[in-house]
């Protein structure tokens, strides 16, 4: 009898342990009184975007009382990891934000993303309101898997007052740029250029643009594909040498700080030049009082690449295959001209919806940037989005090693070529 009792207690304990292990949320679609539930996942738990989207969701649910939207958000790097887990566990949200090119391609390869060609051609009024060229990063095998929303680009920003004081003109070529940096150094700036090299993506942005300038576009196209990449062109070595030369102007501290610190130094007027995204314009204006302008990464002499190609890739929205059909309507709402105009006004980041960036909601510098983005001859995706991450990582770590003098361009290219060969198959 006593043993029976013990045994039953034990069984009870065991079952509770096992059921605890098994209680993963199998019933996510809570029935909000028969409403359609849309799971919405974005990567901005920080302000001002979080409130912006919370506000928009409320607005949408009031206009569509039969829809309930569950929202969830985590920050950038965690987002990248979380979305991977969600994809592999069949728990993909109905609509979520995504970067373009290789990040999107990875998601698409899971075969869980809804192809949008039909949706886009059904409602051309909506789909054509978005700048055509920005769809590029979401197209794979003729099929579009995402709708672009924010656009971005990268350029050198310079402190106008310092440039005037030292009689420096805005450089048109790379040699002029180096001359300008030299004279700034003579004028007493220990580091005329600055970057936070602990952020490896910042290095990839530099390298992506430099390669665009010095390497033949046809070679780049071949090398950036994992199946055909070789990276044997001498242009890459030249590109890395250019990067090494530029790090020479960044001073010792660059390898020990992040991009945000670099931006703050620029905003405080301590450093005259910074390679920065257009999305950061508003942040610099809020952090300091410097008067600044920008110029595109200058053309490199003897460079075989495109001298005016702009680096920058859009971000947008993706829809999961299993999403309820109301999700498309919500997607249209998120990318409508009104939402877009209000978004840029709140956040400062430019968007891809035609007519939604005007002097009403952005300042003159941002508007100038917007013109540059929308009129660029070609746009190059961020380097770490353009190539396989294994290749990008060699370049990014290599960039750090160049800055600290541990490695040479030749050594880095050798490692890159090995990695490329592994991916060929």
């Amino acid at each position: 009898m006593k043993k029976m009792l013990l045994f039953s207690i034990f069984l009870l304990l065991l079952s509770s342990v096992l059921s605890a292990c098994n209680s993963s949320n199998t019933t996510t679609a809570s029935n909000e009184e028969g409403k359609v539930v849309i799971d919405f996942f974005h990567r901005w738990p920080n302000e001002p975007r979080k409130s912006f989207y919370d506000e928009k969701i409320k607005e949408y649910m009031e206009a569509n009382p039969d829809v309930h939207i569950n929202v969830n958000s985590v920050l950038n790097d965690s987002y990248k990891e979380k979305i991977k887990v969600l994809v592999s566990s069949n728990d993909l949200p109905d609509i979520f934000s995504s970067w373009s090119y290789s990040f999107a391609e990875n998601l698409v390869s899971s075969e869980k993303i809804m192809p949008l060609n039909d949706v886009l051609s059904e409602d051309t009024e909506w789909s054509s309101s978005i700048i055509e060229s920005q769809y590029e990063g979401f197209k794979f095998n003729e099929e579009t898997y995402g709708v672009p929303f924010t656009v971005d680009g990268k350029a050198f920003f310079y402190n106008k007052a310092i440039f005037e004081e030292n009689n420096i003109a805005v450089p048109k070529t790379y040699d002029e740029f180096i001359a300008a940096l030299d004279s700034l150094k003579q004028a007493g700036f220990e580091q005329p250029l600055v970057e936070g090299l602990t952020d490896t993506w910042a290095i990839s942005h530099y390298l992506g643009t430099i390669f665009k300038r010095v390497v033949d576009p046809a070679v780049l196209e071949k090398d950036y594909k994992a199946e055909t990449g070789e990276f044997t062109d001498p242009g890459y070595i030249k590109g890395l040498e250019i990067f090494k030369q530029l790090t020479g102007y960044m001073g010792d501290v660059s390898t020990a700080m992040d991009h945000e610190a670099a931006r703050n130094m620029f905003a405080a007027g301590e450093v005259p030049v910074l390679y920065m995204q257009f999305a950061e314009i508003k942040m610099v204006q809020e952090a300091g009082k410097v008067d600044f302008g920008f110029f595109d990464f200058p053309a490199v002499e003897d460079g075989k690449g495109d001298p005016t190609a702009l680096t920058g890739a859009p971000e947008g929205w993706m829809v999961s295959k299993t999403a309820p059909k109301e999700t498309i309507d919500f997607l249209k709402f998120l990318t409508s001209a009104e939402t877009a105009a209000e978004f840029t006004k709140t956040d400062g980041q430019l968007n891809a919806v035609k007519g939604a960036v005007t002097s009403d909601n952005v300042n003159a510098t941002s508007q100038e940037a917007y013109e540059l983005v929308t009129n660029a001859t070609s746009t190059a995706p961020w380097f770490d989005n353009a190539v396989n991450i294994n290749i990008a990582d060699v370049f990014m770590r290599g960039g750090q090693e160049l800055a600290t003098g541990q490695s040479t361009p030749e050594d880095i290219m050798k490692t890159v070529q090995q990695e490329a060969k592994k991916l060929n198959k």
Binding site: V17, T198, V253, I389, D393, E401
Partner: protein, 294 residues
């Protein structure tokens, strides 16, 4: 009738722990080994069997060697500071001279142990900051500005800066373990030594050290296995950079798995880490001959 009866009650008592160990330690361990023979990404629905290819890749990987050397540096420096220096510290704190302020000092040394490592690492990014960091400001203050370098941004100093932070954090814990051990040493040993006219240093080497041998062994084990597994400190402070100069095996494993999506190769590195720590633990158990006290 003849079958040997398994005692029911003791079995019931150990069952939960066996269950948990099996579920959360042994099962993942075996699964990790199984994954080592495949190549897969979290996005792909299928795993590709590659046999020992990833292990071959491991042998050719230069970064693995660099990371392992960093782990070894970690272990050697940690053993010196956390075992040898902590023992000296514990002896001093237990000395009669410091009786009155020892409790306060113990609290001070133990305080860093109670702070989360993430918080400490963020704190130390400010200490090491090249522009406004405490360390460089202090060096400038005492006229050693030529020694002030960007500690975390310099390939030769980065790993040592990371290790230094670890020592600052862990020394209190090990010291505490030694203090407990020293307190358990019978007082008459010291009294006998006093009568024989032994000095403090003689007493330290001839009484304290042999008497805390067991604790010392445990502490060496804790620090060495800890050094092989170390992840938080380098990951938060430097992300393994610049280049791979402060990468440790665990950081490398994480980067391969979650950064570059080579889950199979990451499993191989995990297997390597497991084998290394198991080997070190076995060697130490053999060398110190624990359990055979007399």
């Amino acid at each position: 009738m003849t079958a040997r009866k398994i005692p029911l009650i003791p079995t019931l008592f150990i069952l939960p722990s066996i269950l948990f160990l099996g579920l959360f330690i042994y099962f993942p361990l075996v699964q990790n080994l199984y994954n080592s023979f495949f190549q897969f990404s979290v996005f792909s629905p299928t795993k590709e069997f590659v046999g020992f290819a990833s292990f071959q890749q491991l042998l050719q990987d230069k970064v693995i060697v660099a990371a392992f050397i960093n782990n070894v540096k970690y272990a050697v420096i940690s053993v010196f500071f956390q075992v040898f220096f902590a023992l000296v510290l514990a002896t001093i704190l237990e000395d009669k001279v410091f009786r009155r302020i020892a409790p306060a000092l113990r609290v001070i040394y133990f305080m860093p142990v109670m702070i989360s490592i993430s918080v400490i690492a963020l704190l130390f990014t400010f200490v090491y900051n090249p522009q406004m960091g405490l360390l460089n400001s202090f060096l400038e203050l005492i006229g050693l500005e030529n020694l002030a370098v960007p500690w975390l941004g310099n390939a030769t100093t980065a790993i040592y800066a990371v290790i230094a932070m670890s020592q600052w954090q862990s020394i209190g814990f090990i010291t505490m373990l030694f203090i407990v051990a020293i307190q358990k040493i019978p007082k008459d040993l010291y009294e006998a030594a006093d009568i024989d006219g032994a000095g403090k240093i003689r007493k330290f080497f001839n009484i304290t050290v042999p008497q805390v041998k067991e604790t010392m062994f445990v502490n060496v084990l804790i620090t060495v296995t800890g050094s092989i597994l170390v992840f938080n400190e380098p990951f938060i402070l430097t992300g393994g950079g610049p280049g791979f100069s402060s990468t440790t095996l665990s950081v490398l494993m994480y980067e391969q798995g979650f950064g570059k999506d080579n889950m199979g190769y990451a499993s191989v590195i995990a297997t390597l880490i497991f084998v290394l720590s198991a080997i070190f633990a076995l060697i130490q158990i053999r060398v110190s001959g624990t359990g055979k006290d007399d």
